[in-house]
C-alpha cells in the first residue's frame, strides 16, 4: 500500500503543482465568462433603439399609455400614425425602424401587418410593442387585475414522488446543472487525457521498465488513477469555490440569485455518477495507453472514443425539448453517456428512479469490467515495444490467453 500512495501522491503533485494546471483550470470559466460577456455586449451595442410606429384602425390603442409601461424610459419609443402612407413615409425617412398596422378586426383577429426596411425588428423591440398593446387591452380593468395579468402567474411545480420543486423564479436550480455538467466534463476528460499521456508516455520512454521492478502493475495503475482523480477533484473544488464566491458577489444585484440554495440532491447524484464514470474513462485510457507504442497513436484512438462520452452535448437541443424522449432515455442508460445525460436532465425535471438506478448499475458494472480488462491489457502491453497490441492481441489479453 505504501507504494500505491507514493505513486498517487507523486502523480497528484506532478499534475497540480504546475502553473499550467492552475492557468488551464481558471482559463475555462474565465473564457466562458468572456464569451458570455462578449455576446451580451454585442447584443446591447447592436440594438436598434429607433422608434417603432403603429397605425391603429381598431381604435383600441392610446399612445399616452406608453408612459404606463414599466421602465418606460428604457423602452423603445412607440409612435402613432394616422394612416399607412404617413407611416411609410416616416419609415422611408428613417424616423422609425418599423410599424405595425392593426386592422379594424383587431383583437378579434390577431392578423396584423408589419412594415420594415431590410429586416424585421428584433425580439426585444417587439416585446415593447407587445407590452404596449397588453396595457391597452387591459386598461378598463382594476389596477390589481391589470398588474396580475401583465405579470402572469408564479408557477411552482412539485414532484410528489421525490419532493423536488421547479419554480420559474428559481433560475439557479435549472441553470446550474447545465453549467456544472460542462465543468465536470472538462475536469474528467482532462484527467483522462493525462492518464493516457502518462501511461503511453512512460511506456514510450521506458520509465515503466524501471518502475515495474519495484511496484506491481496494480499499484502503478491504481496509484496513478487515484492521483489524477484527486487532481480532478481539486479542479472541481476550485470551480465550486469560484461559483459560490461568484453567487455571493452577484446575488445583491441579481434578484433571481438571492433565493439560491445549495443543491445537495444534485451534488449527491453527481458524486454517485462521477466516480464510476471516471473509473470507466480511466480504464479505457489505461488500456489504450498500454496497447499503443506512442502517445500520439493513443491520442488519435482516444479522440475517437471520446466521442462516446461527449455525444450528449450534441443532443442538447433534444434534451431541452423532450427530456423524456426514447433517445434521451437510451443515452441515460448507456454507460459512456449516462453521466452527462443524467446531469443535463436533472435541471429539467425528474429522472425516473428506475432509469437512474438501472443506469448506475450498468455504469458501475461497465467500469469494473473496464478496469479489469485494462489491468490485463496493461500486463500484456506494457513491456511490448515497437509493435502496438492488435485487436486480436487485446482480446487474447482480456481472455487471459497468450496473444
Amino acid at each position: 500500500m505504501r507504494n500505491f500512495w507514493l505513486i498517487a501522491r507523486n502523480e497528484y503533485l506532478n499534475t497540480v503543482v504546475r502553473r499550467g494546471f492552475l492557468i488551464l483550470t481558471l482559463a475555462i470559466p474565465l473564457g466562458m465568462a468572456a464569451l458570455i460577456g462578449l455576446s451580451i455586449a454585442a447584443a446591447s451595442v447592436g440594438e436598434n433603439n429607433q422608434p417603432l410606429g403603429y397605425v391603429d384602425q381598431s381604435g383600441i390603442l392610446d399612445p399616452a399609455l406608453h408612459r404606463a409601461m414599466s421602465d418606460a424610459d428604457e423602452r423603445v419609443q412607440i409612435r402613432e400614425f394616422d394612416d399607412v402612407e404617413t407611416a411609410q413615409a416616416a419609415l422611408e425617412r428613417g424616423e422609425i425602424q418599423a410599424f405595425v398596422l392593426f386592422p379594424e378586426t383587431y383583437p378579434g383577429s390577431l392578423q396584423t401587418e408589419l412594415f420594415y426596411q431590410e429586416s424585421p425588428p428584433d425580439d426585444g423591440v417587439m416585446d415593447d410593442m407587445n407590452e404596449f398593446v397588453r396595457i391597452n387591452l387591459l386598461s378598463s380593468l382594476p389596477a390589481g387585475v391589470q398588474e396580475r395579468l401583465l405579470a402572469g402567474p408564479s408557477v411552482t411545480i412539485h414532484d410528489v414522488d421525490n419532493g423536488r420543486t421547479f419554480s420559474q423564479d428559481d433560475v439557479v436550480q435549472i441553470v446550474l446543472p447545465f453549467v456544472a455538467t460542462f465543468f465536470f466534463f472538462f475536469a474528467t476528460m482532462s484527467s483522462a487525457g493525462y492518464m493516457l499521456s502518462v501511461v503511453a508516455g512512460e511506456k514510450e520512454n521506458r520509465t515503466v521498465e524501471v518502475m515495474l521492478t519495484t511496484v506491481t502493475p496494480g499499484q502503478l495503475i491504481g496509484g496513478k488513477t487515484i492521483g489524477l482523480l484527486a487532481a480532478s477533484l481539486t479542479q472541481l473544488a476550485i470551480y465550486v469555490v469560484a461559483a459560490v464566491i461568484g453567487l455571493q458577489v452577484a446575488a445583491p444585484y441579481v434578484p433571481e440569485l438571492q433565493g439560491a440554495t445549495m443543491p445537495w440532491g444534485y451534488l449527491g447524484m453527481m458524486a454517485l455518477f462521477f466516480f464510476p464514470s471516471y473509473a470507466l474513462i480511466a480504464g479505457i485510457m489505461v488500456a489504450i495507453g498500454a496497447a499503443v507504442t506512442e502517445v500520439q497513436q493513443g491520442q488519435q484512438i482516444a479522440g475517437i472514443l471520446n466521442l462516446l462520452f461527449v455525444s450528449p452535448l450534441f443532443l442538447l437541443p433534444l434534451i431541452f425539448e423532450n427530456p423524456g424522449s426514447p433517445v434521451v432515455t437510451a443515452f441515460t442508460l448507456f454507460p459512456t453517456t449516462a453521466f452527462l445525460t443524467t446531469s443535463l436532465r436533472w435541471g429539467l425535471g425528474t429522472v425516473p428512479l428506475w432509469q437512474m438506478g438501472l443506469s448506475w448499475v450498468i455504469l458501475v458494472a461497465t467500469a469494473l469490467a473496464a478496469i479489469w480488462a485494462a489491468a490485463r491489457i496493461f500486463r500484456a502491453g506494457m513491456l511490448r515495444y515497437g509493435q502496438p497490441l492488435s485487436l486480436e492481441g487485446i482480446v487474447a489479453a482480456v481472455r487471459g490467453t497468450t496473444g
Binding site: 482559463a27 464569451l35 462578449l38 455576446s39 451595442v45 447592436g46 419609415l91 422611408e92 383583437p107 392578423q111 396584423t112 408589419l114 420594415y116 426596411q117 431590410e118 429586416s119 424585421p120 428584433d122 410593442m129 407587445n130 398593446v133 397588453r134 387591452l137 387591459l138 390589481g144 387585475v145 396580475r148 395579468l149 402572469g152 402567474p153 408564479s154 408557477v155 411552482t156 411545480i157 412539485h158 414532484d159 410528489v160 423536488r164 421547479f166 420559474q168 487525457g193 493525462y194 499521456s197 508516455g201 514510450e204 506512442e294 502517445v295 500520439q296 491520442q299 488519435q300 484512438i301 479522440g303 475517437i304 450534441f314 433534444l318 425539448e321 423532450n322 423524456g324 429539467l348 425535471g349
Partner: protein, 419 residues
C-alpha cells in the same frame, strides 16, 4: 527542394495512414450535418405546431385536478372541454386522487391569486420542456392553459385573453420589407443549416489540420527523431515540408467534404423539400482563400507551440487557446442568420482568429459588403505572415532538440530573438 519533397511525402503518408483521420474526415461531418438537419427540420415542425391558438388540441389532455381556493374560475372559455378540470374541495383530496391514479396531476390556485399570482402544480415524474414559447408554457402546457382560463375569468372577454398571450404574433403577421436585403428570398431552414455546418467544418479543418502539424512536431521531439532529421534537413526545409504536407491533407478533407456536402445538401434538400440554397457568386473562391490563410495562421501558431512544447500534453494545451476564438461562431451560428450584419457578426468576421470561420458563415447565409470581405482577408493574411515569421524563428534546432519544459520566459526570449 528534394528534402522538402521528402518531408512532404513522409508526413502526408503518416497522416493518411491514421485511422482516426479517415474517421474524422468521413464520419464526423455526416454526424454533424445529420444532427443539425434533424434539429432544424424538427424546429420547423414544432414551430408550425406552436402556431395554434391557446386551448387548441385539448381533447388529448388527461383530466387535471383543480383546487380553486380563491373561486376564480367560474366558467371555461370556448374550446376547453368542460370535463378537463376536475374540481376538488382541498389539496388533500386532490393528492389522494393523484395517488390513486384518478388524475395525472392537480393544480392549486392560491386564494389571493390576484395579489400573489401563486399557482402550485403537483405532478409525478416532472419534465420541463424548453421547446414551447415562454417560460410559462415550458412549465407544462397545463400552466399556460390555466393562465388562459384564469385570464378569461378575470377579463370576461375571450378575444382580449387570446390577444394577451401574444398581441402581435409574427407568425400571423403579413410582412412587408420595403428594402429587402439581397438573398432575402433565402430558405431559412437551409440558411440555419449552413450557419451550423460551416462553422463546424472550419472548426475541424483549421483545428484538426494544425493539430496534426503540432503533434507531428512534438512527437518527433519526444521520440528524438528530430535529432536524426536535422542531420540531413534544414529547419526551414522541415518547417516548409510539414506545412505543405498538412495543407495537402487539409485539402483532401476539403475535397471530400465539399463533394459530399454538395451531394448531401442537394439530395437532402430535395428529399426534405427544403428548396435550394443559392450561394453568392465567388463564395467558393472566398471560402478557399479564407481557408488557406486561416490554416496558415493556425498552423504557424501550432508549429511554434510544437517546437517549444516538451511533450504532447504541453502542446495540447495550445489547442485550447485556439479553440476559444472559434467557439463564438460555433455557439452563435444562429445570430449570423438572424443578424448577418449585426455587431457580433461583423466583429467576429473581422477579428483575424475568428474571421475564417465567421466570414465564410456570413457569406453562406447572406450578402456581405465587399470591403468587409477584403479587410477581413487582409487581416487574416497579415496575421498569418506575422505568425509564420515567428514560427520560423521558433522552429530552430535549439528548440527542436531541447528537452526543457515550456515556459513563457523562454517564449518571450525566443520571440525577441527572432525579430
Amino acid at each position: 527542394m528534394r528534402n522538402i519533397w521528402l518531408v512532404i511525402k513522409h508526413d502526408i503518408g503518416v497522416t493518411l495512414r491514421q485511422r482516426s483521420f479517415w474517421v474524422l474526415t468521413l464520419i464526423m461531418p455526416l454526424i454533424m450535418i445529420g444532427i443539425n438537419a434533424y434539429y432544424i427540420i424538427g424546429d420547423g415542425d414544432s414551430a408550425d405546431a406552436g402556431q395554434s391558438a391557446p386551448g387548441a388540441d385539448l381533447g388529448a389532455l388527461p383530466a387535471i385536478g383543480l383546487v380553486d381556493e380563491g373561486n376564480l374560475i367560474e366558467a371555461l372559455p370556448e374550446g376547453v372541454p368542460p370535463d378537463l378540470f376536475v374540481p376538488f374541495g382541498d389539496a388533500e383530496a386532490a393528492r389522494a386522487a393523484l395517488k390513486a391514479g384518478e388524475i395525472d396531476e392537480y393544480v392549486v390556485i392560491s386564494p389571493d391569486y390576484v395579489a400573489t399570482g401563486e399557482i402550485e402544480v403537483y405532478d409525478q415524474e416532472v419534465q420541463i420542456s424548453l421547446d414551447a414559447e415562454g417560460p410559462l408554457a415550458a412549465f407544462g402546457g397545463e400552466a399556460g392553459l390555466l393562465n388562459y382560463v384564469i385570464g378569461y375569468n378575470l377579463t370576461g372577454d375571450p378575444q382580449v385573453v387570446a390577444a394577451l398571450q401574444n398581441p402581435v404574433p409574427l407568425w400571423a403577421a403579413e410582412t412587408h420589407a420595403m428594402a429587402p436585403a439581397a438573398g432575402d428570398g433565402r430558405n431559412e431552414e437551409l440558411a440555419s443549416l449552413m450557419a451550423s455546418v460551416v462553422p463546424l467544418v472550419y472548426y475541424f479543418l483549421l483545428l484538426m489540420g494544425s493539430s496534426y502539424l503540432m503533434r507531428s512536431v512534438v512527437a518527433e521531439k519526444e521520440n528524438r527523431t528530430a535529432e536524426v532529421l536535422l542531420v540531413s534537413v534544414e529547419t526551414g526545409q522541415l518547417l516548409a515540408g510539414k506545412i505543405v504536407a498538412m495543407s495537402a491533407v487539409t485539402l483532401i478533407q476539403v475535397v471530400v467534404w465539399l463533394a459530399g456536402g454538395t451531394f448531401v445538401l442537394r439530395r437532402g434538400a430535395d428529399l426534405l423539400a427544403m428548396g435550394t440554397l443559392d450561394l453568392p457568386p465567388g463564395f467558393v473562391v472566398w471560402a478557399v482563400l479564407f481557408l488557406i490563410f486561416g490554416y496558415l495562421l493556425f498552423a504557424s501558431i501550432m508549429v511554434a507551440g510544437g517546437a517549444l512544447a516538451n511533450n504532447a500534453r504541453e502542446g495540447g494545451q495550445l489547442t485550447w487557446l485556439l479553440i476559444i476564438p472559434l467557439m463564438p461562431t460555433l455557439m452563435f451560428g444562429e445570430v449570423f442568420v438572424q443578424e448577418p450584419n449585426g455587431t457580433l457578426s461583423v466583429a467576429l468576421s473581422l477579428f483575424p482568429f475568428s474571421a475564417p470561420s465567421a466570414m465564410v458563415t456570413r457569406l453562406a447565409v447572406g450578402s456581405v459588403p465587399l470591403w468587409q470581405i477584403v479587410l477581413s482577408l487582409a487581416g487574416v493574411a497579415v496575421c498569418a505572415y506575422i505568425f509564420l515569421r515567428l514560427a520560423a524563428g521558433f522552429f530552430r534546432a535549439g528548440n527542436l532538440l531541447s528537452q526543457e519544459a515550456f515556459n513563457w520566459r523562454r517564449l518571450l526570449t525566443d520571440w525577441q530573438g527572432s525579430r
